[in-house]
Every structure is written in C-alpha cells, then in structure tokens.
Symmetry: C2
Subunit: 202 residues, 2 copies
C-alpha cells in the first residue's frame, strides 16, 4: 500500500505551514530559519522550496490561509445572525474562544508585524475579515442599535477592548482564560464604565 506511506501533497503543505506558524509566533519571522522549519516539519528543504518557492512564500501562503479561515468565521456569523449588535457579540465570543483554543493563529494575526515579510504595503487591518467587522458596526449604527457616532471610533471602542484583552492574554499578562471575561467586556462596551452617581444636587 504505497499510497499510505507517501503523504498527500496537501498534508505536506499543512505540515510545513503548521510548523512555520508555531515557529514564527514563538521566535518571530526573522529568527526562524528554513532549516528550523525543515527540522520541525520533518520534510526536506527541497520539499519546502518546491511547494512554497521561498521562506517568504511560506509566510505569505500561511497568512492568506489564516485570513481565509477568519473570513469564513465572520461570514458564517453575519449570514446566520440577523441583528448587527448580536453579530458583533458573536464575533468577539468566537475570537475569545479561538484565543484559548488556537492561540498561535490569533497571535499570528494580531501580534505579527506583517510588513516585515509581506511585500508591498499590504495591511492586515485592511484585509477582508477586519473590513467586515467594521461593516457590522456601521450597520448597527444605521439600524439604530448603536449610538450614532463615528464609525471608526465606534469600531475601535467595541473591538478595541476585546482585542486588547486578546493581546494581554497572548502575552501572558492575563492569566485566566479570557472567555471568562466575555460578559464583562460586552457589558462595558455596550453600557460604559462610568459609575452611576446619585443625581448630583448642587
């Protein structure tokens, strides 16, 4: 059964990309050599260059792969749920869950400085998942679920708190799983943090 001893090409691709992802997140793109990827993935140098052309090729394909995964996550949510406000909550929930279950995928998106290996001036936060996330907010404002504020400012406030938690969690500064903070974050973003002072009388 020779077809079992040889790996399917997609499996080799995935092996290489998975190893590369973990190494990039652990050490940073430039501190990872092609030989490191070779060792951890178990395939040969030749195979890496045959499949990806270059080290940058590995990073680029990996990046696109992950952006696609994220894009699908967002699309599924916006297609399933009606209310923008609820879509927004679900997006944050899923991002928190991903942060705990697949931290390196999230770290690669939120932590890396992609301009270091992505040629040109491609910007992560202009990629489709992030654009869609901002559109959710825009619709929420239009349909009156959110206060009528500037779209960018509203996006920053709502997702900013969540993204900040993700970053602090990935850095190990927050020690508990952030899924536990979900309700708190949502409540704060929706209703604010100002203490309800008893009506001030002069």
């Amino acid at each position: 059964m020779p077809f079992l001893t040889k790996n399917a090409p997609e499996q080799i691709d995935m092996k290489i990309m998975t190893s590369a992802l973990n190494l990039f997140v652990e050490n940073g793109y430039h501190n990872v050599t092609v030989h490191d990827i070779q060792k951890r993935s178990g395939v040969s140098i030749g195979a890496i260059y045959h499949h990806f052309g270059s080290k940058e090729g590995v990073a680029t394909k990996l990046f696109n792969h992950i952006i696609n995964e994220l894009e699908q996550l967002i699309s599924t949510i916006t297609e399933t749920i009606e209310s923008p406000s609820e879509q927004c909550k679900e997006i944050i929930k899923k991002l928190f869950e991903y942060t705990e279950s697949k931290p390196n995928i999230i770290a690669f998106v939120f932590h890396a400085k992609h301009t270091e290996f992505l040629s040109g001036d491609y910007l992560v936060y202009n990629s489709s998942p992030f654009i869609k996330m901002r559109e959710v907010i825009a619709k929420g404002i239009e349909c009156g679920e959110f206060l009528e504020t500037d779209k960018m400012a509203a996006s920053s406030c709502i997702y900013g708190g969540a993204i900040r938690m993700i970053q602090l969690r990935l850095d190990g500064i927050i020690e508990k799983p952030i899924t536990e903070y979900y309700d708190t974050i949502i409540n704060a973003a929706w209703s604010g943090l100002k203490a309800e002072t008893p009506a001030e009388v002069s």
Copy 2:
C-alpha cells in the same frame, strides 16, 4: 573653535538613536543593518559599536529611553491631577497628541514585537508606564468613579479603544488626526455605545 566642530558625545548618542528609531519603525528591526544606521546618522560604524556595543545594544538603549519618556509623562499626570478618572482622560489625550506629533515613538512602543530583539522574556506591557496606567483604573474603581468591574477588563475597555485608534492611525487606516476623535472615544468608553432605546412596551 574645535569644541564646535566636534559633537558632544550625548549628541552622537541621540543622533544614532533617532536614526535607529526611524529606521526600525519604517522597516522593522531585522530589515535594518548597522550600515543603514551608520548612513542615516552620519557617524561611523566604529562610533556606533563604541557607544552601544552591538546592534541589539542600540535597540535596547533606545527602548529604555522611550519607556522612560513615557513613564515621566504618566507620572507628571498622576502627580498633577487628583481624580483617577481625569488622570485617565489626560493620559489618553497625551497619547493621542504624541501619536500625531511623534508617531515613530508611539509606533516603536505599540507596534514593535520587542521579543525579537530584547533578550529574555521582557514584556512591554509589563513595563512601568503600562503598570501605572492600569493602577489608575484600579484606583478609579476603588474610589467609585468607575463601575466595580474586573480591573483587567476595565483597563482593556478604557485604554483598548484608544490604543486601537492609535494602531489604526499609525497604519494609515484612519486618515484624520485622532485628536479629533478624543471626545467621542472618551464618551463611548465612559457611557457605552448602546443606543438609548425608547422603553420597550410589550
């Protein structure tokens, strides 16, 4: 007047650090060679190695220099203003102003992945300015100015929105100076974004 033709040693240090800062932010630490720093600063390779010992030395001293500057900014605010809630606003205001006037300093702090050149597991967000920023929130909760929520979650919500704006501005995704968004951001963080729906009657 030979004392005018020769630069004071501190001036050379600053020249090197300023050039390094700009190059690091523009291209990323690993895409900058010592020769690049040499060319832009106008001093010799020898001077760089004499003053800083290594490329990593340049980055480390630069990093400490900037963290100190930020630390002083925060300290001045906490010593001058009484109310934690107002301290917090002032911090965000100053960070926004810095983002516009000295973007590269802010970019170096918020954008860089410092683990790539800082030895050990030193974390930016555990450095003194960020710890102090979180303490401001903690005090605000204690004295009743903020809702009694988890300290980390509250910090993330308040600063997260602002930091997100800074990041989007540095990436060029926000086109207007973010100082214009200051009031909106503060209002959203303090009072929330949920639209005040007319009392729902069944």
